[in-house]
Symmetry: C3
């Protein structure tokens, strides 16, 4: 079940990346590349940081075709997509939570420290979006938007300590996904944000 949700999440991330590419007037190749970086960048960054080789997409290269297919489909459907704002935000929220769980699992299997498990989940969840924003020449949204990274951390903490408490894995996973997903949706609806740090003076 996690695997099915994982592929849905990758597809959703690829489609949001394709829309971002369209806003920058990229060509079809740029759309595919940005989709790959966004959908697979988080897992890639986690594996490189943890020295966990081979990378997921090097081992299963067909996922590259899935991502490029989803990106090209988005081009074809761009007019429809416009009316699908909420379905997209929900799929994106699901993607964030599912990527986090997948990332935690990799770090747990490697026997990493609890802090690193949480960080691995967070890197998997958010780095794809950061790379997308850097390549589009924006300040990454995750630094200032609604509870995005916080959702990932909360999901990871629930999942890790649920497993430590010897509860059943599937149950823990479902609870972590449900709580994280709900938190993100509520934050989107009520525009919950972390407090901002505004500092105007230039040090130099």
């Amino acid at each position: 079940m996690l695997e099915a949700m994982f592929f849905i999440a990758i597809t959703a991330e690829a489609m949001t990346a394709a829309l971002a590419a369209g806003r920058r007037k990229m060509d079809w190749f740029g759309v595919c590349l940005l989709a790959c970086v966004t959908a697979l960048g988080g897992g890639t960054a986690r594996d490189i940081l943890l020295g966990h080789y081979p990378l997921y997409w090097v081992h299963n290269p067909y996922v590259l075709l899935l991502v490029c297919g989803a990106a090209l489909l988005t081009i074809a459907m761009a007019r429809v997509v416009d009316r699908l704002r909420w379905p997209f935000l929900l799929l994106d929220a699901l993607g964030l939570v599912v990527f986090t769980i997948v990332g935690c699992n990799v770090a747990i299997e490697m026997g990493q420290h609890p802090l690193i498990v949480i960080v691995a989940g967070m890197v998997t969840g958010i780095v794809g979006g950061i790379l997308r924003d850097v390549l589009c020449n924006d300040v990454p949204l995750v630094f200032s938007s609604e509870l995005y990274a916080t959702v990932s951390i909360v999901t990871g903490v629930i999942y890790y300590f649920g497993l430590q408490a010897n509860l059943q894995q599937d149950l823990v996973m479902l609870v972590a996904i449900a709580v994280g997903f709900a938190l993100r949706v509520v934050a989107l609806i009520w525009k919950w944000e972390m407090p901002k740090f505004v500092y105007d003076k230039d040090l130099r």
Copy 2:
């Protein structure tokens, strides 16, 4: 012969990077650093993604001196370089194609899947330019310019399937380089571009 072309390609990439640095008014150190990132970044990214250690320039550190030398020479010759637009574009096209072949070879030697061989070639060919543009705070040119990445993919496909067909390696390599190089030059002359995906509405 591939090795001679490889060094010519590295030198050419270093020089184009130096000109980009000059447009950003970087200091001499910045020029050298940007040249290293541009000329060696593609191969470095490929090796990190494939877990192929040690990196080329860590194993052969003198290539760093070659790159910095080419960059500093470009500073000295900036007035002449200005008249050399076409030689530079041709050397850059050669670099793209040669880097692609080198990247494919590394992945083939590691026994990777055909898709990964093509991706390894493409990463080697284009990532250096992407990093150069990100560090110069531009949206990477490769996302919207003339058939740049497509040339890399075509070259990689010809090379890989030529080798699979048990043709002689040198012959396959020459054909792949010639076709890729010609495609890039024709695309430059006639301003061939991939279709663009233009999407104006903001999802958020």
Copy 3:
């Protein structure tokens, strides 16, 4: 003693990163993330380039808490920090020099070529700041500011050749730190800069 200075340097880098985040109006999470990337990014880049696993912070995850703590403390103290321009610049200079020595040590222990030892020190010293500037959507300062990278190279050269000359390690380290630190401070006071390469014509 190097270790104590290393922690001071990490804390100082985290605090300067927090101020940069404040200028971009990031939220508290963004402040912590940018602090981690800035303070630990140089060492992480070095270890990934050299294939030196596990990464420092994966092995000692509590350093993440130190960095985030320093970043959050900076938020609380932002008004005071404003008057501390010079202490900060001095700590930042110390950080640059100490990071360089730590990076050289890693490469020396791996038995790398002298050029790679110097590069490893430089990567450790400057990459954190480059990542900070890229994530804040600036052209990295290090490409055009006062002798920043040069200080790192000079420190690395003194340290490496001092050790090669069989002098006592602690003495060599102190001399390298003192010379590098003094050079940076003098460059700040007298606004020493590397010559700039200014090139106005667009190649394309």
